[in-house]
Each structure stands twice: as structure tokens, then as C-alpha cells.
Symmetry: C2
Subunit: 143 residues, 2 copies
């Protein structure tokens, strides 16, 4: 049995994050010690490591909830898990495309800056006038 701190170190997840996952129902409520402290079985480590790894791959917690549900039913088809991962891959690719457009725009803007005064600063000017831009940009990647 692990304390929450040991579990957190083992899975490399911060203690408040574990409590948060419990609060939103991603981790089951564990038993408590006589002094009301959480005591986790070994299986909690697997589940938490799964969550952490999926988070590192950018899956939102809702998708992780689904994946955890699937992993509890080993006999079913993995088509659903595949679909979730594929959606995540699509989302990641989408963000890369948009960020590359932003990168190009910022590069262009900075290339034109002659480091003079604000009044002839291309950075400020470009920001003030969309017509200076090469692309459209839709601002959906501003986390």
C-alpha cells in the first residue's frame, strides 16, 4: 500500500493532481488509514501511470476516461481506442499546421524590423494592419 506521496513519486504525478483526478472521478476513492490518509493498492500505480502517459501524449482527460474504460474490458475490439488515438493525432497535426503559419508570420514581421523607433516599427505596424499579412490566420491555437 502506498501513501499519496509515494504514489505520486512512483508515477511522477504531483500530489494535488492525484487528488484532483480523484475528485473528477478519474481515479477511484481509495481506502483510508485510521488517521484518514489515503492508502493506495499497487493497481492505482498502473492506472495513474496510464493517465500520466496519455496526458504527455496530449490526450484530454475525457479521452483518457474513455481509454481507461476500454482497458477495463480487454475482450472488446480495440477499434474505439484506435479512433480516440487517431482523433488525437489529427488534432496534433492540425495544431502543427497552424503554429507553422504563425511561425512564418512572426518571422516575416521580425525580418522587416529595422530596430528604429516605434513610429516606423514593422512589428507594431503589422499588428495594426492585417493587410500586411501573407496568410489568413484564425487564432485557434492560442493556448
Amino acid at each position: 500500500m502506498f501513501s499519496i506521496g509515494k504514489l505520486g513519486r512512483a508515477a511522477r504525478v504531483k500530489v494535488p493532481t492525484i487528488r484532483y483526478y480523484e475528485q473528477i472521478g478519474l481515479l477511484p476513492e481509495p481506502d483510508r488509514s485510521a488517521g484518514n490518509q489515503r492508502l493506495y493498492p499497487r493497481t492505482a500505480l498502473d492506472r495513474l501511470a496510464f493517465i500520466r502517459h496519455a496526458r504527455e501524449l496530449g490526450f484530454p482527460l475525457d479521452a483518457i476516461r474513455d481509454l481507461l474504460g476500454l482497458s477495463d474490458h480487454p475482450d472488446q475490439s480495440c477499434a474505439a481506442a484506435d479512433a480516440i488515438a487517431r482523433a488525437q493525432l489529427d488534432a496534433v497535426r492540425d495544431r502543427i499546421v497552424r503554429l507553422k503559419a504563425l511561425e512564418g508570420e512572426l518571422e516575416r514581421m521580425l525580418d522587416q524590423c529595422a530596430s528604429g523607433t516605434i513610429s516606423d516599427c514593422r512589428v507594431i505596424e503589422v499588428l495594426g494592419d492585417h493587410a500586411n499579412c501573407a496568410h489568413d490566420h484564425d487564432g485557434k491555437d492560442l493556448g
Copy 2:
């Protein structure tokens, strides 16, 4: 003079967002009509367009606040504006690198999925065991 709705349409910014920008001090409080409705001068459109464009380029509102402050002082050096834009470019490049690593990991995971049952699903397995991974990933791009 614009109503808030006309201003929003002109700058392509949603009305509640304009009120939010006012609330956090990014836009000055405008005069009101006899019936307490906001009335904006033409200059508000420039300022709002500037904000929207900077947001589309991924600048956080705090950086935009600084840029707006700079654009109000056209005689100063544009070095500060340049630095803000450069920091934003660095941040964008950083996110692209991390997202590409995630993309590769997800691709590998999906390539290995033979579409069988959950019990031999590589997607679930890879998520459960970090040792299957090619890279480290640090989970800092999960917005």
C-alpha cells in the same frame, strides 16, 4: 460612433470578448448613450483590430498590453516591441518541436495497432507502459 455590435462586426471580435477586454483594462471604458449603451469612437476600432491581430499571432494578453503601451509612444525605440515578438516566435517554435514529437509517438502507436481486441491493442499497451516510447516527452503542450 459605433455600438458594441458594430464594433465587434467591424473588428471581427465577439461582443462579450469586447466587454471582457474592457473589464481587464485592455480597452478604455467608452462613453455611454442616454440608455447606458456603449458608444465607441473610430479609434477603438484600430485598437481592437490590433488586439485581435496580435491574438491571432498567439500573443498573450499581457504581451499585447505591453505592445499597446509601446504603440502609444511612437518616439521610443522599438527594441522592446522586437523583444516581445521574438519571445513569441521562440514560444511558437518550442511548441512546434514538442508537438512534432507527440505526432511521431502517436503515429508509431497507431502503426502498431492490428485492430484486434483490447487485450492485444498496442494503443492501450503503449499508454500503459512508457518503456514502449521512443522519446521522453514532458507534457508541456497539452492545451
